[in-house]
């Protein structure tokens, strides 16, 4: 068998070449796992992780190490139109493809893209989305599953198959119901969102960490006859158990803690500096003993900004 490259959906633009969403398939038979990369134009890291996976699986397949009757599809980038012009959302109307699922065949452009994409990926047993956050900042690598009624128990257990340090369970809010992950789950696929540390920068380590996490999952689920070091013990917790530290003042952010730091209650996390006068106008300390899971990485902060997330020990 050899890697198969297909256009899984195509849409016309008035002035550009058509947008062809390309899927790479490895193995054959049961649709076992689908991996989706960039849905937004700034998700370069997410595309790069998939690209590296395509390259790796190509090698694995050449060595005959894809399991019998298993097929894996990878879609590295569903929105290169936006990526090629440096935009995050859809080029024309600024809509977000990841807020259009399950999509609508007769609808607007991004609804049609979501529909076309979803129809070709919804029947896989497992789905992995390389996801990014709305928040600007750095996270510890983790994998997330939505708390929906369908098949969640099994999905919780599978969180540890990635060998990442954290597995999170998210209770969906109305805003989540139009995402790929949520709709995959509702359709009956076991869906995971994998978060690498950076979005726009391709860091060697965080890219490789996400690639390895995905390979570990594919091995654990019997899709690859391959071996890899087992990864880390996964701590599984509800997203609600993460402490959110936010600003009550605005100004220049001066941080004293970064992700992966272990902090104690009372430790200084950051100061807010007056943007015109240079004086310290606020000091933010940790309310709890724990590990810094998220750290905001812009220099200016407004009031109510989530600047650190801490997972209690």
């Amino acid at each position: 068998m050899e890697m198969v490259k297909n256009i899984i959906y195509s849409i016309k633009s008035p002035y550009r070449q058509s947008l062809d969403i390309i899927g790479y398939t490895f193995g054959s038979g049961e649709p076992s796992c689908c991996i989706v990369g960039a849905l937004r134009g700034n998700e370069i890291q997410q595309m790069a992780i998939c690209a590296q996976l395509v390259n790796t699986l190509k090698n694995i397949e050449e060595k005959g190490c894809i399991a019998e009757n298993k097929s894996i599809m990878i879609i590295p980038c569903a929105n290169y139109y936006s990526m090629n012009i440096g935009k995050r959302f859809w080029t024309m109307d600024n809509t977000d493809i990841n807020r259009m699922f399950p999509g609508y065949e007769l609808g607007e452009t991004t609804q049609r893209i979501a529909d076309g994409l979803f129809k070709s990926i919804r029947d896989y047993v497992f789905g992995i989305q390389m996801a990014s956050f709305y928040q600007e900042g750095k996270f510890l690598p983790h994998v997330k599953v939505m708390d929906t009624s369908s098949g969640k128990e099994a999905a919780y257990e599978s969180l540890s198959d990635f060998g990442l340090p954290y597995g999170l369970i998210r209770k969906p809010i109305p805003y989540d119901t139009t995402t790929l992950n949520y709709n995959w789950q509702i359709w009956g696929c076991q869906a995971f969102s994998l978060f690498a540390t950076y979005t726009e920068h391709i860091g060697g380590q965080s890219t490789q960490a996400a690639v390895n996490a995905t390979l570990r999952f594919l091995i654990a689920k019997g899709m690859l006859k391959w071996s890899l070091h087992p990864g880390l013990h996964t701590r599984i917790l509800n997203e609600d158990n993460i402490w959110r530290i936010s600003t009550s003042r605005a100004g220049i952010l001066k941080k004293y803690a970064s992700i992966e730091d272990e902090v104690r209650e009372g430790d200084l996390l950051c100061e807010i500096i007056h943007p015109l006068e240079g004086s310290t106008i606020d000091k933010v300390v940790s309310p709890i003993d724990g590990i810094v899971f998220f750290s905001y990485n812009k220099q200016l902060v407004m009031e109510h900004t989530d600047i650190f997330n801490i997972i209690p020990f």
Binding site: S13, P174, T178
Partner: protein, 311 residues
């Protein structure tokens, strides 16, 4: 009287302030309160004229008012000020974060303050004006679950059509849904087009709002006779999306009555000069939505027709 609804510090010197103008007269514990809100989407401006005119009108004959009218021209001041549809800095649609949270982001905290301020009013009118792509005739959109409560008030507002749409979970995070679920009757008006003001539509809605105030016994002045809207559910609405890409040239006038088979417009390819698509009306009815922005992709909405069931 101008009041602050929400205030939060921005990084350098200024604060984000959401304001309202409260116009009141003859207030007693039994007095009614009506809220006029707009400017959630920073590129929708029709509501600005409505607010400006209403404030002037109510203040000039305040003795005819009985109760409270709160006018909120800009729920998303940073958006309007910077020609940005969403909430700047967050890249998000402000009408997808309600009811908000006092401990959430600045946008969520603002949403929380807005809901707290409006909640408890007798009626809230949330004025939208489509987007830059589509032009709408004055209409009210209500969900199936709220239609029984809202239709009598919607009919007083002098709009041309009322569209009763199916519920969708994602719409639970809108301002209107949040308020309706909390017992504050909220009507969503859509009219005109983004980045423009259509004076005739604004005047039409202002007449409707004054008629509503009159109906609620809050306004003793004269009111205009209002039109009876056409009411339709989703199945009565015909959608026309382009399958081709190019530039759209309409061949009918917005608001026209069209027949099955009529050509609504054509999509042209500027490079070859060919007609790549002819948009044909799927039913008889009023062309209530018409594409304003010429460039279209595959999928772009060209028109919507509210069918009258004939043909």
């Amino acid at each position: 009287m101008i009041k602050h609804v929400s205030i939060a510090a921005l990084p350098v010197t200024e604060s984000l302030v959401i304001q309202k103008n409260r116009i009141e007269n003859n207030v007693s514990p039994e007095s009614k309160r009506v809220c006029i809100v707009t400017g959630t989407h920073g590129d929708e401006l029709e509501g600005q004229y409505v607010c400006a005119h209403l404030v002037k009108l109510l203040n000039s004959e305040k003795q005819k008012l009985s109760g409270i009218v709160d006018i909120y021209p800009a729920l998303n001041p940073l958006g309007i000020d910077s020609v940005t549809r969403g909430f700047p800095l967050f890249d998000l649609d402000m009408n997808r974060i309600f009811p908000g949270s006092p401990t959430g982001s600045l946008a969520e905290a603002a949403a929380f303050d807005i809901v707290r301020d409006i909640e408890g009013a007798d009626i809230c009118i949330d004025i939208h004006s489509s987007n830059i792509f589509l032009r709408e005739i004055p209409q009210i959109r209500v969900s199936e679950q709220t239609q029984a409560e809202l239709l009598p008030y919607a009919a007083m507002l002098n709009v041309d059509i009322i569209w009763i749409h199916a519920a969708a979970t994602v719409l639970e995070s809108t301002l209107a849904h949040t308020l309706n679920m909390r017992g504050t009757k909220t009507l969503v008006v859509e009219m005109g087009v983004g980045m423009r003001i259509t004076e005739s539509y604004c005047t039409q809605l202002i007449d409707g709002i004054m008629n509503l105030l009159h109906g609620l016994d809050m306004w003793s002045g004269d009111v205009q006779h209002v039109r009876a809207p056409i009411v339709s559910k989703d199945h009565g609405v015909g959608f026309l999306n382009s399958d081709a890409a190019g530039i759209f040239i309409p061949s009918v006038t917005h608001g026209d009555y069209v027949h099955t088979g009529d050509v609504i417009g054509r999509v042209l390819d500027p490079l070859t000069g060919s007609i790549v698509e002819s948009a044909i009306s799927p039913c008889n009815g009023i062309l209530f939505t018409l594409r304003e922005y010429p460039v279209v992709f595959g999928g772009s909405l060209l028109a919507r027709i509210m069918g009258d069931g004939n043909g």
